[in-house]
Symmetry: C2
Subunit: 230 residues, 2 copies
DNA sequence: AAACATAGTGTATTTATTACACTAAGTTTA
DNA sequence: TAAACTTAGTGTAATAAATACACTATGTTT
């Protein structure tokens, strides 16, 4: 196989899979590409890493430039490097993922590379550029695995949430049904949820009590060797 | 920051963390480097990925060339890309890991890049080239996490093993003590261990019954949603 | 005031985990 | 050749965790 060098040969890119949860369903942050390759297609917010930039920092920068999001607490997911995954050259991409509260942020691309950014329900993801559908699947697997063993669901809900909202989140991401009483018993038994003196507003039925997740308490339990599991 | 191009700039490498278990302790496969950088230092078996080579295939090829090992069932671990991790240029490395039966293979480097290959107990790993100590730590974390939730311990033991050997393995990798009766009860309850009509030989005490892991049975249970957990 | 929607609560049963100590089968030693 | 040694192998009771299950409470809308 002959090697015709291009600007894209032997480059690294980063692609971010950002999950949010809104209106009862899990969503992914996608951009519409304004440049080749795959111009006009939806894609994960990703771009080339700079020569003088660490991967983790590159991931944050790229996410910010393409969507306006900051402080997303990105975690590395997997690296995709098939020979022909990029039409313009040999580009391997390191995928990162993160969970965020959708409502806290406004989407606003900072560079023209992205025409727009939007939250798309996981069930409605179209065919994406490159191997990005595969990357999203991998991220979903990871999210589902992690959700069971780490108390990360809260990162997707607003600061204050009701137990029913939390249960909904688990049920809709893991695609399982959970008994209400058992769920409450279990999640409260860990003692990392703080009941607030506050209720839901603007609901047309009995308002639910609100809770918040106390990270410090969780870390204490974790250090003691008490492992969360739903 | 100015960019002085070198042969190593913008290249990808692969580093393999291969675990084995022998004489009651966990070991890692290391090579002695015969080329720059870090000539003479111990390192993980790793090298640059070819331009026309997928990452997974590259990992197998590199492992074979440097150690003689084949069919190691490598799994991707993590990608390390700090700017200064490689003294000769910007090289990001994709780490893979695998568990193998030490006794089944003979170590024999196929190219001069590696002066020799050797199994080194995890507790005695010296300072390695590049960021390879960090990579080994990451692989250890992953191994420990996985050992608890997937029946992978068998990949480190010979085909036929006794329950005590298996328990030893868990205890020495996870650094915990396990009750003998409870361990046996639990591991046998999963029904994926087949008792053989065979006993240990060449031991100077009562010989233990041998078992083998039945992968098909495990996969059946897994499909039924029965999750292994030690 | 009745209908509606979601919040909130307890108990009994089943299943899993833990703690715990002796006998069995071989080998080595005196 | 018997005693000492080494590791294999086994069961039960007590405790803790998971499950199954249905009604009342609180507020809103009609």
């Amino acid at each position: 196989m002959k090697h015709k060098p291009t600007d894209y040969d032997n480059t690294f890119s980063i692609d971010n899979v950002i999950f949010g949860f809104d209106e009862g369903s899990l969503k992914v942050l996608l951009i519409e590409r304004a440049e080749e390759a795959f111009i006009g297609k939806m894609a994960l917010p990703g771009n080339l890493v700079r020569h003088d930039e660490n991967l983790d920092l590159g991931a944050s920068r790229i996410l910010y430039e393409l969507t306006g999001l900051k402080d997303a607490h990105l975690e590395q997911l997997y690296t995709f490097g098939d020979i022909n995954r990029h039409p313009l050259g040999r580009v391997i991409t390191v995928a990162y993922y993160s969970l965020i509260r959708i409502k806290k942020y406004k989407l606003q691309p900072k560079i023209s590379f992205a025409k727009r950014a939007a939250w798309i329900p996981v069930a409605e993801i179209p065919q994406l550029a490159f191997d990005h559908n595969v990357i999203v699947e991998k991220a979903l697997d990871r999210l589902r695995g992690k959700l069971r063993y780490k108390p990360i669901g809260f990162e997707l809900l607003s600061e204050k949430f009701s137990l029913s909202q939390l249960q909904d989140l688990y049920e809709s991401i893991l695609l399982i049904a959970i008994d209400k009483r058992n769920f409450r018993k279990k999640i409260l038994s860990y003692d990392f949820l703080i009941a607030l003196n506050e209720k839901q507003k603007d609901v047309s039925h009995r308002a639910a009590k609100l809770y918040r997740f106390d990270k410090k308490r969780y870390e204490l339990l974790d250090k003691k060797g008490i492992n969360f599991e739903l």
